[in-house]
Symmetry: C2
Subunit: 148 residues, 2 copies
DNA sequence: CTATTTACTTGTATAATACAACTAAACGAG
DNA sequence: CTCGTTTAGTTGTATTATACAAGTAAATAG
């Protein structure tokens, strides 16, 4: 029955998050927000705080500070926008890319160890459903917003 | 290829978390930690801060404060342990159960809306894999700890 | 009966976050 | 061109979840 499945998802999701949020904390290196910003910058190209904030669903001020610490660590460069004296592009640097890559690898390795005994089909199915889930949630959120 | 699937999982998981952590924030009512404590108390019965901390993988002090706010809100009662003058049991109250239940319903409803168009098979499969994932991660964590 | 351990609380610190106030550049109306 | 308004970004302040360390009081071991 679908209801049963949804209940399980609901329960497991809570655990899922707590577990990951916690495990990330100890992970050393990049915290989640830095990771997410760097990832956004590589996958979607240079951007200013405003668009980053929008893309990542965070407050501008949050991004502003986090980006500042990334600049500090020299993982990103703050390039003035030639067409607008107020605006900047944050651009990932060589060391930033490297850091992101290492982090990805580390995260990936943890996952690989955990899912060692999963079959390929299970992995693929989970990947697919997780992705689908994310899309469903985005869609639902947009719908809700346009409803008012 | 399994590697591809794992990469997708890794990517999607990051989004997944950010999304949920954020959406929970606006949810009003119970925050995640309160929710988790209440849920733990209903599913595993009354417990003191120490065992709760262990079960939930949080610091004792964190639980202590969170439990205190739950006592404040009268969602749990702090019952002295008759066999040990230092110890207490936190016990969910009637209003606490009600609150938990409402929250579960609300979370559930959100999920249901988001997954409206999923087939039953997809839901079941996702529920199953999420659960399996959680277990895999716990197992991996324990292994890592016993390794040293 | 004292010393140690245990269950819990409280002090302090950090990190991620939001909202609100601020600064400076850009833009639009006259 | 100047002035008021909007926009991009920063900074002040507050909140929340968290951990670690120090403290308190009860229990237990010698």
């Amino acid at each position: 029955m679908k209801r049963q499945a949804l209940e399980t998802i609901e329960n497991e999701v809570t655990d899922f998050i707590r577990r990951i949020v916690l495990s990330e904390r100890r992970d050393g290196s990049l915290d989640r927000s830095s990771f997410v910003i760097l990832r956004q910058l590589t996958t979607h190209g240079p951007a200013g705080v405003k668009s980053l904030a929008k893309e990542l669903n965070l407050d501008i001020s949050t991004i502003s500070r986090q980006a500042a610490t990334l600049v500090d660590k020299q993982y990103v460069e703050k390039v003035p926008n030639p067409d607008d004296g107020r605006a900047f592009f944050y651009q990932i640097t060589e060391p930033g890319e490297k850091m992101l890559d290492e982090n990805r690898k580390r995260r990936f390795a943890g996952l690989e160890r955990a899912l060692e005994e999963w079959t390929e089909e299970e992995c693929e199915s989970f990947a697919h459903l997780l992705k689908k889930y994310n899309h469903s949630v985005i869609k639902e959120k947009n719908k809700k917003q346009s409803d008012g």
